[in-house]
């Protein structure tokens, strides 16, 4: 794995090339390009806010849209990185069958493109959060390691799924179902306080709960993520990366014939 990682450093330009393409293919052909990429999360934000603050009336969350954004921004990044990242190897089968490069560059660049989208979304949401919640600059700094950890976690799963999908094409379909369940199993549309007491330990075993809570804590309450909290998040990111990358390297050997 060390050898593979060292080799990967030679492919920085390839990574940037793919990243530019992953970004621009979504924004291509319209001046409003970047806005289009925000349209989907914005529409979801509006829908969920309407349903859960006017129809179902979830209580004790303060400002519902900000509450929702806090959990939804990391979730939206995570789920789109998984959905789009998982199909990268299959989509680039023509390339993979004919030329060599470290295959992991493909899911990595796609995850990174989604990360950039998330940062843009955060930037857009930021003035509103500032206006309603105020801003704690020191607390915001703790979002940087939290985001690094989230990126590692998403990239790890996206890479793993991309190579699994080469062997089993219906993975794509299962990812859709899995993410849907995962979304509701994570306190994004509802607060942790609405979860029955005995279920909470189970909820905390879900890494995405920890990420959503960290974002929410910073954006909503202006509290810095604790050192212990950051350590746990980074551990999740690192362990999942190492484990998934090890599996990826094992399975990557035969993908050119399986595609």
């Amino acid at each position: 794995m060390i050898v593979a990682l060292r080799e990967l450093t030679d492919y920085g330009y390839l990574f940037r090339t793919f990243l530019r393409r992953d970004l621009s293919s979504r924004y291509k052909g319209s001046a409003l390009g970047i806005l289009w990429s925000l349209l989907n999360p914005l529409a979801q934000l509006a829908t969920y806010s309407f349903v859960f603050s006017y129809v179902i009336r979830i209580k004790n969350v303060g400002n519902y849209p900000v509450f929702f954004v806090g959990g939804f921004v990391p979730w939206f990044f995570f789920s789109s990185a998984l959905i789009l990242g998982a199909s990268t190897l299959v989509q680039h089968s023509a390339l993979i069958e004919k030329v060599y490069f470290p295959r992991v560059v493909l899911p990595l660049s796609m995850t990174s493109a989604n990360l950039i989208n998330m940062l843009i979304a955060l930037l857009v949401a930021f003035p509103y959060i500032w206006w309603t919640q105020g801003v704690a600059p020191l607390a915001l700094l703790t979002l940087i390691p939290a985001t690094v950890a989230l990126f590692l976690f998403a990239a790890a799963l996206a890479s793993l799924l991309s190579v699994v999908m080469v062997y089993f094409r219906d993975t794509e379909f299962l990812i859709g179902i899995g993410l849907n369940v995962w979304f509701y199993a994570t306190p994004i549309v509802y607060p942790m306080s609405a979860v029955p007491e005995r279920l909470r330990p189970w909820m905390d075993a879900n890494p995405m709960t920890l990420f959503a809570n960290a974002y929410r804590q910073v954006l909503l309450d202006g509290h810095a993520v604790s050192f212990r909290g950051l350590a746990i998040l980074l551990a999740i990111g690192l362990v999942s990366s190492v484990a998934c990358y090890a599996v990826f390297l094992r399975l990557e050997g035969r993908i050119a014939e399986e595609l």
């Binding site: 004919k98 030329v99 060599y100």
Partner: protein, 410 residues
């Protein structure tokens, strides 16, 4: 002189699965009710060799002998199931025309893309772009998307990138066959420079002439195993002898069964039809394998249901790729066919000596009326035959021209 070999291949094996029924869904894999059914075969079976810096290795063999699989493993596209491959240095692989190109990108954009795939940075690539374009002779088309390129232009660009990214090892699979002659010559020249610079080259080719003239060492793969390894002249000859012997055996087998006709003659309501054809050697034996330098008689049989006045026959020999090699007709050749009465007969085109280079060819036959304007019957690619090296050693080009070489000193 002992140097570290650039490429070391040790007991490498690669297994492929031939799926009868393929399970590509997780559902099927989990349920396990319908297990995937496949046969395994060893595409490369216990191959070992090493290549020194500055050495050129040629790999040849029949289709399916594992040579392309071997090259793909050297290029790290496939991973061996057993054994070890160690390659030192940057590898540049040209395995397929246009591999790794984005059709919508221009030549210049593709240079950056391909270069990135080879692991180069933008700064390393920028100074090479002009040279790559110039070597590929694509100056006028550099800003057009490569999807508008011909296959020759693709090949030029691909080769030009592969040799100009400063690789230590160059792997080439047959791709030079698409370029034109002058580009091919420049490629070989560039590969010679490459070799003289102490770099390593591995060439997979059907073109035995190229292997003989260009490589320092050759490997003959047969059924995934190394059949022979050594000086190209010796093992290429061994290979050609074997293939020729097998083809002759096959050909004799066919004579007994009646000759292979690619198209059955069609009965039409014309007074005369082509009813069959045959190729004969000078001993009168019917066969479809000839050695150049010996005589070949192409016989077109006809069957007339009514008398026909002065028809003529035209025959064309085409190469396997469809290129016409020679056309002649009884009229041009000065044969007065005269009136044909009812019944059968034949008109022959006798080639003596046969001056084709080794390869496979087709014969097409047309039967014209007396004016030479109306086709009475025709058979496209009616018959296939093979030519092997006999009296002539030439393998390149289209035909052998009767000629001698001379030298003089001033």
């Amino acid at each position: 002189m002992t140097t570290e070999p650039t490429i070391v291949v040790e007991h490498v094996r690669k297994r492929f699965r031939l799926y009868h029924r393929r399970e590509t869904t997780l559902k099927a894999a989990l349920l396990r009710r319908n297990r995937a059914q496949f046969e395994e075969f060893w595409a490369v079976d216990d191959v070992s060799f090493s290549v020194q810096p500055g050495e050129t290795l040629g790999i040849f063999g029949r289709n399916g002998s594992g040579k392309s699989t071997m090259l793909k493993m050297l290029a790290r596209i496939l991973r061996p199931d057993a054994g070890e491959i160690a390659v030192n240095g940057r590898v540049s692989a040209l395995l397929e025309v246009g591999a790794g190109f984005h059709p919508e990108y221009t030549a210049v954009e593709n240079i950056f893309l391909s270069g990135a795939i080879y692991g180069l940075s933008k700064d390393e690539l920028r100074p090479r772009v002009d040279e790559i374009i110039a070597f590929a002779q694509l100056e006028r088309f550099a800003d057009n998307p490569v999807k508008t390129y011909s296959s020759g232009m693709y090949a030029r660009l691909g080769f030009s990138i592969a040799v100009n990214v400063d690789p230590d090892v160059l792997l080439i699979d047959e791709v030079l066959s698409v370029g034109d002659e002058s580009f091919r010559a420049r490629c070989y020249e560039r590969m010679l420079e490459f070799r003289d610079a102490g770099k390593t080259l591995v060439l997979v080719s059907h073109d035995l002439g190229a292997i003989e003239s260009f490589c320092d060492r050759a490997i003959w793969l047969d059924g995934g195993k190394v059949r022979a390894i050594g000086k190209p002249e010796a093992i290429v000859k061994e290979y050609v002898d074997l293939v020729t012997a097998e083809d002759e055996a096959w050909s004799r087998g066919q004579v007994g069964k009646g000759l292979v006709q690619l198209h059955q003659p069609v009965n039409r309501t014309v007074p005369i039809v082509l009813s069959g054809m045959a190729l004969e050697g000078d001993d009168g034996s019917e066969r479809d394998l000839f050695h150049n330098g010996e005589p070949m008689r192409i016989r077109a049989r006809y069957e007339a249901s009514n008398p026909v006045h002065a028809p003529s026959v035209e025959m064309t020999i085409t190469r396997h790729d469809g290129a016409a090699v020679a056309t002649s007709s009884s009229r041009i050749g000065g044969l007065e066919v005269g009136d044909i009465l009812e019944g059968t007969g034949s008109i022959d085109w006798v080639l003596d000596p046969l001056l084709l280079v080794p390869g496979s060819y087709y014969v097409s036959v047309k039967l014209f009326d007396q004016t030479g304007l109306h086709v009475l019957d025709e058979q496209e690619r009616w018959f296939r035959f093979q030519v092997r090296a006999g009296a002539y050693r030439e393998t390149q080009g289209v035909v052998v021209l009767p000629a001698v070489w001379e030298q003089s000193r001033d």
